[in-house]
């Protein structure tokens, strides 16, 4: 047969032939990022691509120039090296584990057949063209084309859960031309496989195989994915199987689909980056100013201070020395430890999610898991949830409910367990009605009905695709020899293909009625085929199946030509029940100000019904559905405009939702993307049906581009693109396999756990990160401001008040540990959060981490620096103004104030917090007393001196009261007279002692609140607009 098209993307695999052995890569798998030799340079390179690290490296290098270094270079090098070692060892450990698993896979023994002899070699020695001989339960070492199995019918079973997450066994077929070869012949077979270049599509393999003489039938035989055994799958229930290696090593389909996921940056991270840049700018300004005035002081005053011995004429770079000194002095403004601290905290948040008992799904025995440990804060700032329907909101457990055949409407309720949901529901339902499928294999099926067997020969399968929305089979009746086409599919895919003159009205009505009940419908149709017609078609079909180019569309075209003039048999309806807790969860999330959109591949009516059932939309008159439909493009665009106008005018008073389908979306995206984006920003709810996986992802992208934080949740392979596109992807580890859960950042067992994931974990994580990041800047700025103030008393010369040891310990030790305690902090209890989900709007709007709150922290930092500095220099004036002592007094002041700042900002004290905050405080004194006992240090005896002075302790108490008094007074007045919602909830918790006490009253308020919430949250977008740009810009 002719090869239809020649593409350049091709490889020819000569079976059992050494000549082409080395033209492709070997079967050595390597997932490692580094090798032993390139680890250090490559890892350093990776780390230094980050701005922060570059900055600190430059600072550290400048420190080496002792002429300008205010303190020992160790103050920067020490933490920098520690941070580098921590990151590098994490990378190295991960890479080493990858290496070990690669090594294990590469050195596994496999059997190959070479010119008829069986040999055992290492998996990594397999080359393209080798015949690999597999035994039962073997892991498949590379991608193979199956050429023989122990099964006389030429089938074998593979478990592909490693690839697609589906645990059911897949059947694989030996291609027809090698079906009749004996085991001996298989070992000697020669031939060529023509296949595309490696790709990562595990559902497609469009290839041909031709065997050489002495095999007589040397016609090219089409190969599909059903003739392959893919790497990392397992051979099951088959004694042996053998295949030709076509893709090896990292070029296999599983190897190609491995890829490093793009690292996601949370909104909070982006904000921290922005604030860092702001601080950096501030630092440059401060340095330039101090440097300028420092040079002026030097020229006017410094030259007169004879004891400084300033040379009259300095080197050419003299004017740079003082600014550079200040640059080094002020480099501590940007906390070097912030990334490590945040990474650590985020790791703990992720662990809390993994550990959460209340997110454990008993039914499927799956705990929640956060695959991405870095984005927990984003959960607390989610604005849009885009949810799949089937399997996510519903159980994906199909129950055959009704069918409409001819005129009668039958009821039958059967439950079943199955792999392929709808089909098995039908088969089971049929068997309950005494029509049993008793046998089914590759080419035939038997049905037992009313005491007799009927046999059908299965001639062709016209596969289901999401474009065709239907599938058909061509069968031959074993008794009569008649050839039949049987089709099933979506109503719009079947009913228009009905033969002329048939009454399809009643089926349309039945479909309508079933959809109203939230049932999934399927239409069935059939047609007699003439022998000739079938033969002719069958030839075309084979050609299309063999084509290497555009195979899918060619097949679709051929199928299309056959599926016409159908006799409509009837409509079936299958129920897919809502998952437990879905309506409550959606209500809660909507109360929390999150907009929930439903994206489904299902029909509009079914989708709307599910939407009603799960509280996504309410019935008229409190809400209104705006349907965006139309026959022509103009109609659709006009209805979009109309929906937008209604939405704009009434969204304040009514709960509006828009409904659109895939076709409409396609047209809208082509012509009027902007106005759709505007509509999307207004609508709290949307139901999008008939969506393709790509369209789901497109919707996410639209919302993302409008600056919203999106969460995509789904359970099936068709949701993967959406999940990956969204800021946060959540996968339900459900019945459609683990594909979605694997691609997602978080995987949970049930939709209802989303409530805890967002409201509890997300919210707490956001709050905690907001504190940790801002506090990190606060403490760095605090000590930096003191240094700057000291500069004015030291002739603007860039002297460091603090010694190297203190500076290093301050950043790495004294101030890092107490702040970590905030990872245990809960501002309000979980119960309160779930009772008042509206509180999430706080974190959504970024109220706890934005330039305004940050300025508050800077202000506090400056105030505390002033307090510490001036109290210290006033109390330790005159004869007491010894450098080491004064510096230690100022440092102690910082530590005291810091302990109280953390205490004051902690909302709930658990024992780790108390131990860490005050243990750190005690540790500060212990460490400094120990350091004071070492004669060679500058600090020798200083701490002993100070601790013996009453004036030291009196100064500390004064510093704390002056530093914290106004903070406390301000906070009290604010909490009391201008409280935030969080404060109020804290007060409610407090005044009720136990939150349960007012449960009754609360439920009474609930209904009122729900009604109001929608209004409040709708207007939120306007009222909080001053917060929004802070996040999105």
């Amino acid at each position: 047969m002719e090869v239809t098209s020649w593409t350049t993307m091709k490889r020819f695999v000569y079976i059992n032939d050494d000549s082409c052995r080395y033209s492709y890569c070997g079967n050595r798998i390597s997932n490692t990022k580094y090798t032993f030799w390139n680890f250090l340079p490559k890892n350093l390179w990776e780390q230094f691509r980050r701005f922060m690290n570059q900055y600190f490296l430059i600072i550290a290098c400048l420190q080496l120039w002792s002429h300008i270094a205010p303190v020992s270079p160790a103050t920067t090098w020490g933490p920098l090296i520690i941070i580098f070692i921590v990151s590098a060892s994490k990378e190295a450990w991960d890479d080493y584990n990858r290496y070990l698993s690669d090594k294990k896979a590469n050195e596994r023994k496999v059997w190959v057949v070479k010119d008829g002899t069986h040999r055992q070699i290492k998996a990594q020695e397999i080359h393209v063209g080798d015949i690999v001989w597999l035994h039962e339960n073997d892991e498949i070492p590379c991608d193979l084309v199956l050429i023989g199995t122990s099964d006389p019918q030429g089938i074998c079973y593979v478990e592909m859960s490693n690839l697609d997450g589906e645990t059911d066994l897949k059947t694989r077929f030996v291609p027809s031309i090698s079906a009749n070869l004996s085991a001996d012949q298989l070992g000697k077979v020669k031939g060529v496989v023509e296949c595309p270049n490696p790709d990562n599509d595990i559902r497609r393999f469009d290839a041909n195989m031709r065997l050489f003489l002495p095999i007589i039938d040397n016609e090219a035989c089409p190969l599909t994915i059903n003739n392959t055994l893919l790497q990392s799958c397992y051979l099951r229930h088959t004694e042996w199987a053998c295949g030709v290696a076509v893709y090896t090593g990292n070029e296999t389909k599983s190897g190609m689909s491995r890829g490093t996921a793009e690292t996601k940056l949370t909104a909070a991270d982006a904000m921290i980056d922005k604030l860092t840049i702001a601080i950096f700018t501030f630092q440059i300004i401060v340095v330039l100013l101090l440097g300028y005035f420092g040079n002026i002081w030097k020229d006017t005053q410094g030259l007169k201070q004879w004891y400084l011995m300033y040379p009259m004429e300095g080197p050419w770079y003299d004017f740079l020395v003082i600014p550079l000194r200040f640059e080094l002095l002020c480099s501590i403004m940007i906390p070097i430890s912030i990334k490590v601290t945040l990474d650590l905290a985020k790791g703990v948040y992720a662990k809390f999610i993994d550990w959460d008992e209340q997110m454990f799904d008993w039914e499927t025995n799956t705990p929640a898991h956060s695959a991405n440990t870095a984005i927990s804060e984003d959960l607390g700032q989610v604005q849009y949830i885009l949810s799949d329907k089937t399997g996510t909101l519903t159980e994906n457990r199909m129950i055959f409910k009704r069918c409409c055949i001819s005129d009668t409407i039958n009821d039958g309720t059967v439950s079943y367990k199955a792999q392929s949901q709808d089909e098995e529901a039908l088969v089971n339902a049929a068997s309950n009605l005494n029509m049993m499928l008793i046998s089914k294999d590759n080419s035939s099926a038997g049905i037992y009905f009313n005491g007799s067997d009927f046999h059908y020969e299965l001639l062709d399968i016209l596969e289901f695709t999401s474009d065709r929305k239907r599938m058909s089979v061509v069968i031959k009746d074993g008794q009569t020899g008649k050839i039949l086409l049987l089709s099933k599919g979506a109503d719009e895919a079947i009913l228009p293909r009905a033969s002329a003159g048939q009454q399809i009205q009643r089926y349309l009505e039945a479909v309508e009625m079933y959809s109203q009940l939230g049932l999934r419908t399927l239409c069935l149709g059939w047609r007699d085929l003439e022998e000739d017609e079938y033969k002719e078609w069958s030839k075309k079909f084979r050609e299309a199946s063999c084509s290497l180019h555009n195979r899918e569309s060619k097949i679709a075209e051929v199928c299309h030509s056959l599926e016409r003039d159908l006799h409509i048999l009837g409509v079936t309806a299958i129920e897919d029940r809502l998952q437990d807790g879905v309506p409550e969860t959606i209500k809660l999330l909507r109360n929390a100000g999150i907009n929930v959109w439903m994206l489904t591949g299902d029909k509009q009516n079914t989708a709307i019904q599910i939407g009603l059932l799960c509280n996504l939309i309410t019935s008229e008159p409190s809400s209104q559905l705006l349907s965006i439909t139309g026959k022509t493009e103009e109609d659709i665009l006009r209805s979009l405009e109309r929906a937008f106008i209604i939405m704009k005018n009434t969204c304040e008073t009514k709960d509006l939702a828009f409904v659109l389908d895939g076709c409409a979306l396609e047209i809208i995206l082509k012509h009027s993307k902007e106005s759709f984006t505007r509509l999307a920003m207004l609508s709290r709810t949307a139901i999008c049906c008939r969506m393709t996986p790509l369209q789901k992802a497109q919707l996410v992208a639209i919302l993302k581009s409008a600056g919203y934080l999106t969460l995509g949740i789904g359970d099936g392979g068709n949701d993967v693109r959406m999940i990956q596109e969204a800021n946060i992807g959540v996968g339900i580890s459900g019945r459609e396999g683990l594909q979605a859960a694997r691609a997602a950042d978080y995987s949970i067992g049930k939709f209802k756990f989303l409530r805890r994931l967002i409201l509890i974990h997300g919210r707490y994580s956001y709050n905690r990160t907001a504190f940790i990041s801002q506090y990190s800047f606060y403490k760095s700025l605090n000590i930096c401001f003191i240094q700057i103030l000291f500069a004015f008393l030291s002739g603007l010369s860039g002297t460091s008040l603090f010694n190297s040891t203190s500076l290093m310990a301050y950043n790495v030790f004294y101030t890092s540990l107490p702040v970590m305690t905030i990872i245990f902090d809960k501002d309000i209890s979980e119960t309160t959060v779930l009772q008042h989900p509206q509180i999430l709007q706080h974190s959504q709007a970024g109220r706890l981490l934005n330039p305004i709150t940050f300025c508050g922290w800077i202000g506090r930092s400056l105030y505390h620096a002033l307090v510490i500095f001036f109290i210290t220099i006033c109390a330790y004036a005159d004869e007491k103004s010894e450098m080491q002592e004064l510096s230690m007094v100022a440092l102690s002041g910082c530590i005291w104030i810091q302990a109280f700042v953390v205490t004051m900002d902690t909302n709930s004290f658990t024992y780790p917090q108390i131990i860490l905050i005050w243990g750190n405080f005690v540790a500060f004194y212990m460490i400094n007393l120990i350091l004071s006992a070492i004669p060679s240090l500058q600090m020798y005896t200083i701490m002993f001196h100070l601790c013996g002075q009453p004036s030291y302790w009196i100064t500390m108490a004064l510093t704390v009261v002056v530093g914290m008094g106004p903070v406390m007074a301000f906070r009290y007045l604010r909490d009391m007279y201008r409280p935030s919602a969080i404060n109020m909830l804290q007060q409610i918790e407090q005044s009720n002692g136990s939150i349960q006490a007012f449960g009754g009253m609360d439920s009474a308020l609930e209904s009122v609140r729900t009604n109001l919430t929608d209004l409040v949250t709708d207007s939120r977008r306007n009222s909080d607009s001053n917060y929004q740009p802070l996040l999105s810009d």
Binding site: K752, S794, T831, Q838, M883, M1001, L1012
Partner: protein, 355 residues
């Protein structure tokens, strides 16, 4: 503290079925192991700023601070201090226009007599300080210009790194002690007499014991010190080890502020009110070039230190403010009472129009 020590609440509704199933499925489950820590259910105490709490804190702080302030102030007031600025007065009348020439001219006698009147009875020991003003011992160039190893260890005399620009003599000999700090050692001297009675100044133990014992070597002797063309301050007797050169040790404890006092010695005599003390001083040290003041200070000391009433005043003011705030908050609470924990304050429980 109005903290209610209740455990962080958990939602019991959702876990009821979970608990029922727990028994059966415990054996073979991937369920995370329960602990209060992993479930974030550690018992927590959640204090909030209630009026009662805040008012009592401010009040108690005030009540503690005021007496401490009074005691500190009394202590500071107990200290008798005589300060005499002599840099201006010791310049001969004909040279007031050219003080720099006066101080730099070695031929002019720098001896100067000052009479001090004791204002109040001073009990021994009386501390003698010199005070310098506008003198930047904390300057980056100055404060680093020393080498501690060299001071401690005789064998490390050659270690003069960081001592720029007073490292070595012109012919490369290391200076001990090197660096600007030592080089600019203060060299004014004071002798006190009361009438005809000599008041000896005890210059022993004016430095820190730890410095004498560990920072300045007993076998380290000054060498090549002040031999350069440019003489800074005092010279050192090369026969006395550094550990006994107490003026140097005191001077090398650099001051953090541009105005500072350093201990010169102690007088172990009581000074009576209206006693006149004659100070005969050698005004050698140059503060004229940068307009710095020089003062001689005689002072007694208390448990709190010298005559510094900052802490006393600060405590009185802060304590007073705290009590004042406590009253203001109490008043505010009665004028504008607000019930804590009222649901109706929550924005979503109010009509949006009222926001």
């Amino acid at each position: 503290m109005s903290s209610s020590g209740h455990a962080a609440g958990t939602s019991n509704g959702g876990s009821a079925d979970a608990a029922a199933a727990a028994g059966a499925a415990r054996r073979n489950t991937r369920m995370p192991k329960y602990s209060k820590f992993t479930q974030q259910e550690l018992p927590a105490c959640k204090p909030i700023l209630t009026p009662k709490w805040v008012v009592s804190v401010f009040f108690i702080v005030g009540v503690i601070f005021v007496p401490i302030g009074v005691v500190s102030l009394l202590a500071a007031r107990d200290v008798v201090e005589i300060i005499d600025r002599y840099d201006e007065a010791c310049v001969p009348g004909n040279m007031t226009q050219n003080k720099l020439a006066y101080i730099q001219n070695e031929t002019i006698s720098k001896v100067c007599k000052r009479n001090l009147t004791v204002t109040k009875h001073m009990k021994q020991p009386i501390f003698v300080y010199y005070e310098l003003d506008n003198f930047y011992q904390n300057h980056r160039r100055y404060v680093k210009s020393r080498n501690d190893a060299q001071l401690r260890d005789a064998s490390k005399a050659n270690q003069t790194s960081a001592c720029e620009p007073e490292k070595t003599t012109a012919n490369g000999q290391p200076i001990v002690p090197c660096g600007l700090i030592a080089w600019s050692l203060f060299n004014d001297t004071y002798n006190f007499t009361r009438g005809n009675e000599n008041l000896p100044v005890d210059k022993k133990d004016i430095s820190w014991k730890s410095d004498r014992e560990h920072k300045f070597g007993k076998d380290v002797y000054p060498s090549n010190f002040q031999n350069g063309a440019l003489k800074g301050g005092a010279t050192l007797d090369p026969k006395i080890p550094l550990s006994e050169q107490e003026d140097l040790i005191v001077w090398m404890r650099t001051a953090a502020l541009p105005t500072f006092r350093k201990l010169y010695g102690r007088i172990y005599f009581d000074l009576k009110e209206n006693d006149t003390i004659t100070v005969s001083l050698n005004n050698n040290y140059n503060t004229y070039s940068f307009g710095g003041k020089k003062k001689l200070v005689l002072s007694t000391a208390t448990w709190l230190g010298g005559k510094n009433d900052f802490l006393g005043f600060a405590y009185l003011v802060v304590g007073g403010l705290c009590i004042f705030l406590a009253f203001v908050f109490t008043l505010l609470y009665f004028i504008k009472p607000r019930k804590l924990g009222d649901h109706n304050y929550l924005s979503w429980n109010r009509h949006p129009a009222s926001r």
